[in-house]
């Protein structure tokens, strides 16, 4: 029997090409392409006057210069939609003042880095030479930077958006403030998280080739959603959708920023390629990525909580302000997630949440791994610790008392989640997870360690944080599986990959379902030539959505294989099994003549047109049934080929969960914060590949540590991003990231055929919450704002000493 691959630490099939330098990332393609560069705004807020290109035209190798005026004339002459603002992807009834940018700025810029002029030249060096010689007259306007300034409304980002408010949204299960007022005990907290960013090692990039003979456009882009980029590009360029294909090559990390689409460059590069009849490429540089892609996390929260003597929540009222930057093309997804996922594994009593989404003259905000959950988790877990401190109860006990119990699953919060569907947890055993975490970190032994450390003049602290993560959001993903006549199994799914090992993970699932060896399965993701309908890679959804889709498809193909093989072997389909790619009568040896048939031969038999191109076709002739002249070669409802397509579309998200515990040491003199231990208990349902899963958790934790201790976007009051380089934006190196200790709990999801829940974002979610908890424990005063630097800790110590 073949060994079941589901659950095995199968080495990744992606790796041999990636480790030998044979990956194909965006900038590795199109060596013959022209290069694009952009003149970007140096001002956070300004009106645009004259654009003078006369100095640039003499640059040898310059091919074209485009401004917004060129988009207007293109729209007038060719009927494109290039002069319109870019789409508001996810509208919402509460998003009353949605504003999006133009591909090139139209009269006004609203953040440093906004594209004003596009330059195309023979190479990037020349394109930047020319860009440097273009003079744009800017009339600077006052900039709105930070939540405080945006909220006071004295200065406006967009003249027609009063108070800088794009949206105010409320969800409630009752009168939470009354419940807080009536509770025996209550607390008020103000909690803040600063901006960070996805910051993949590869920035964005687009390559477009216009084929004048075929009147078609081939676009490669470093995206998390090729199918939607295809629709967007076709719409903007006014091309029939079937004349546009979008391929996602190897992608050097996404972490959310590449789910946003279409970026201005994603429509401008194809547009220029079509106009010029030449391949055009743009590769984002690091500074561009800092100032013209997207950030996330900046939120200020005000919480009122009421609870009983035992620390059980009776009412929770949260108000928060979300800084979404200059435009809001991705809608309210991030604050909606914060407002719902804040609840974590707890029953909040009566709950009310209200958020205000504010414009500022800074880079736009779109989801970054975790997508609003790290902020929500920080808020709820700070509340739990505050209640524990006020009541004098152990922090794990307060959490335990507020947990949703396993017997209460499925648990409905009676709120609307990010996908517009019920916030209803499908599974999870929170008390069991917490017990595992207490054991893993040695919660009960920590007091002794603290005493020992204190005797040595050291300050140590322990903290924890719990989260629930809605994963695998819909509406759907699909899978296509085809068995070729040589027995190769070709699998496609429309969503993209950015390093999560999808080729391996999906091949494991298909190999199991079809009964073929792993190395016979070839998986393609994110190529619209292969699969047209898909949503994208975000919200920890691939294993749930595409995993389920390819499993369902493989089952369908298996049924067809059994039907055809049963005919050929003159057996009943129920008596057949597939082992190692051979269909055989159960219990027989594979060597006997006419008792087994390989899947490749079945594929040949599935097609009545049978030229003997290869050995498989010649082999198949021995099984050919006598033709029945009364029957059509293909029966009604059947199709040639051993292939199928199925879609998986769930009624709601799955909900994964996890709990992290951290031990920190804070230096009594320098205030350096060092993580001594980092423990994770993780429940993402059934596990397809534990090696890949652990890698996802490691990477998430590293980003959590970065967000808690090092990373922030340092904006000056005039809207300049002061740390827009890897020199100044401090991402952790190996010496800053702790070894992660992991234990798993598997509570399978009842919602999908595999029992999986997503895992991609999990590791990052409780980082700031758990580390704040540990620092608070070490220092003995509350931590209300993250990230925290040694100098901020120093100032807090001074405040609390006086």
């Amino acid at each position: 029997m073949s060994t079941r691959l589901f659950g095995q630490r199968v080495p990744r099939s992606e790796d041999p090409r990636l480790v030998t330098g044979n990956g194909r990332y965006l900038d590795d393609l199109g060596h013959d392409a022209l290069a694009a560069a952009f003149v970007r705004s140096p001002h956070a807020h300004a009106r645009i006057g004259d654009v003078d290109v006369s100095d640039a035209v003499d640059v040898e190798g310059l091919v074209a210069v485009y401004t917004y005026e060129d988009l207007v004339s293109d729209q007038a002459e060719h009927g494109s939609r290039m002069a319109e603002a870019l789409p508001l992807l996810i509208p919402h009834p509460t998003l009353t003042h949605g504003r999006t940018p133009y591909p090139l700025a139209n009269g006004e810029v609203n953040h440093v880095g906004e594209a004003v002029v596009m330059v195309v030249a023979v190479d990037r060096y020349v394109a930047e030479d020319a860009a440097g010689r273009i003079h744009v007259d800017f009339e600077p306007l006052p900039a709105v930077v930070g939540i405080e300034r945006a909220r006071d409304g004295g200065r406006l980002v967009h003249e027609d958006v009063p108070g800088n408010v794009a949206a105010v949204m409320v969800q409630q299960t009752g009168d939470a403030d009354a419940a807080v007022d009536a509770a025996p005990h209550s607390l008020e907290l103000e909690l803040e998280i600063e901006r960070s960013a996805s910051m993949p090692m590869e920035g964005k990039g687009v390559l477009a080739r216009w084929d004048a003979d075929d009147q078609s456009l081939l676009v490669h882009t470093s995206t998390q959603t090729s199918t939607s980029v295809r629709q967007a590009v076709a719409a903007k360029l006014a091309l029939p959708v079937d004349r546009v294909e979008v391929v996602t090559p190897d992608v050097g990390g996404g972490f959310g920023v590449k789910i946003m689409h279409p970026w201005p460059e994603e429509v401008l590069v194809p547009w220029a390629a079509r106009r010029l009849g030449r391949a055009v490429k743009w590769t984002e540089d690091r500074r561009e990525h800092f100032v013209s892609s997207a950030h996330e996390r900046g939120q200020l929260h005000r919480v009122r909580v009421g609870y009983d003597d035992e620390g059980r929540l009776l009412g929770l009222s949260v108000r928060f302000w979300h800084d979404h930057g200059a435009y809001i093309p991705y809608g309210l997804i991030v604050p909606i997630i914060t407002s719902t996922q804040l609840l974590g594994p707890y029953k909040p009593g009566v709950y009310r949440v209200e958020f205000t989404s504010l414009y500022t003259n800074t880079v736009i905000v779109t989801p970054y791994r975790g997508a609003g959950r790290p902020q929500g988790c920080f808020v709820m877990e700070r509340v739990m610790d505050a209640i524990a401190a006020e009541r004098g109860i152990d922090r794990t006990v307060v959490r335990e008392r507020n947990f949703i119990r396993p017997e209460e699953m499925p648990y409905d919060h009676h709120l609307v989640f990010q996908d517009g569907r019920a916030l209803r947890y499908d599974s999870g055993d929170f008390p069991a997870s917490l017990e595992k975490l207490r054991k893993l970190v040695g919660w009960d032994d920590f007091a002794a360690f603290r005493e020992q450390a204190r005797a040595e003049g050291r300050l140590v602290g322990i903290g924890l944080a719990c989260y629930v993560e809605g994963t695998g959001v819909g509406p759907y993903e699909g899978g296509h599986v085809r068995v070729e006549s040589d027995g190769t199994v070709v699998v496609s799914t429309g969503l993209t990959s950015q390093g999560q090992g999808h080729q391996t993970m999906l091949a494991q699932i298909v190999a199991d379902e079809l009964g073929v060896p792993f190395d016979r399965v070839r998986v393609t993701t994110g190529d619209t030539r292969r699969f047209k309908y898909a949503v994208g890679t975000f919200a920890s959804r691939t294993a749930v959505m595409s995993g389920s889709a390819v499993a369902m498809t493989a089952r369908r193909v298996r049924e067809k294989a059994m039907r055809i093989a049963a005919d050929a072997l003159e057996a009943s389909p129920e008596d057949l099994e597939i082992v190692d790619g051979q269909v055989r009568v159960k219990g027989t040896s594979p060597s006997g003549a006419n008792v087994s048939i390989d899947l490749g031969t079945v594929a040949v038999l599935s097609n009545p047109l049978r030229y003997a191109f290869d050995d498989a076709a010649r082999r198949a002739t021995q099984f050919a049934s006598p033709a029945d002249p009364a029957r059509a070669p293909i029966s009604p409802g059947d199709a040639p080929g051993l292939e199928g397509t199925e879609y998986y579309s769930p009624t709601q998200s799955t909900f994964a969960n996890g709990m992290h515990a951290v031990v920190v040491e804070t230096d009594p003199d320098t205030c350096e914060i060092k993580i001594l231990r980092y423990c994770v208990v993780h429940d993402c349902g059934t596990i397809v590949n534990p090696m890949i899963l652990e890698g996802q958790i490691h990477g998430g934790v590293a980003q959590g540590v970065g967000g808690a201790l090092y990373e922030r976007m340092e904006y000056a009051d005039d809207g300049q991003l002061l740390n827009a380089s890897f020199m100044d934006f401090l991402m952790p190196y190996s010496t800053e990231v702790p070894t992660v200790e992991i234990d798993h709990l598997e509570t399978p999801s009842p919602l999908n055929p595999l029992g999986v829940k997503g895992a991609g974002e999990a590791g990052v979610i409780p980082g700031s919450a758990a580390i704040a908890s540990a620092i608070e424990d070490a220092e003995g005063f509350p931590i209300r704002r993250m990230p925290i630097s040694p100098s901020e800790l120093f100032h807090l110590r001074q405040e609390h000493q006086s």
């Binding site: 330098g21 090692m201 950015q498 890698g695």
Partner: protein
Amino acid sequence: MNTGSTNTEQTVAVSVTVNGTPYVVDVPPRRLLSDALRHDLGLTGTHVGCEHGVCGACTVLVDGAPIRSCLVFAVSLDGTQITTVEGCCADDGEMGPVQQAFQDCHALQCGFCTPGFITLITGYLEDNPAPTPAEASEAIAGNLCRCTGYQNIVAAVQRAAELRRPVVEERASRSPGEDR
């Protein structure tokens, strides 16, 4: 506006040996080594992550020592021996020990920073063939990875040390006194 001009930038002939193959490449004096490798020689395994010398994705070995190829001009390397990630393969073209170790330990996810780590570690193990985990972590602490959290890269350094031991021993027995 469109123009029809072509680039007539002055170029300089540079002789380099890359992964054992001699090249003479005509490049403008301002061409970065990273761009020359990627776009003039077509060796796109070397990646560019920041273009200001911090992330280390573009690390290559020049005469055995790691350098950031985004911080040097190609013309300044005339006469040198350069090793890129493509040159870290085994003699038969299969994965070399560091590359194999990366697969064994799941030390890469998106793979974009990986070539810089592989060249760096290849050079490092020549100097320290049996590092401790702490030494391994220190050795890679100048390169950024956004996917893995480094834990598995540290493990891969040790695994690579293990895998290359027989190769190194064989090399030593072939040419005594030459190795190290």
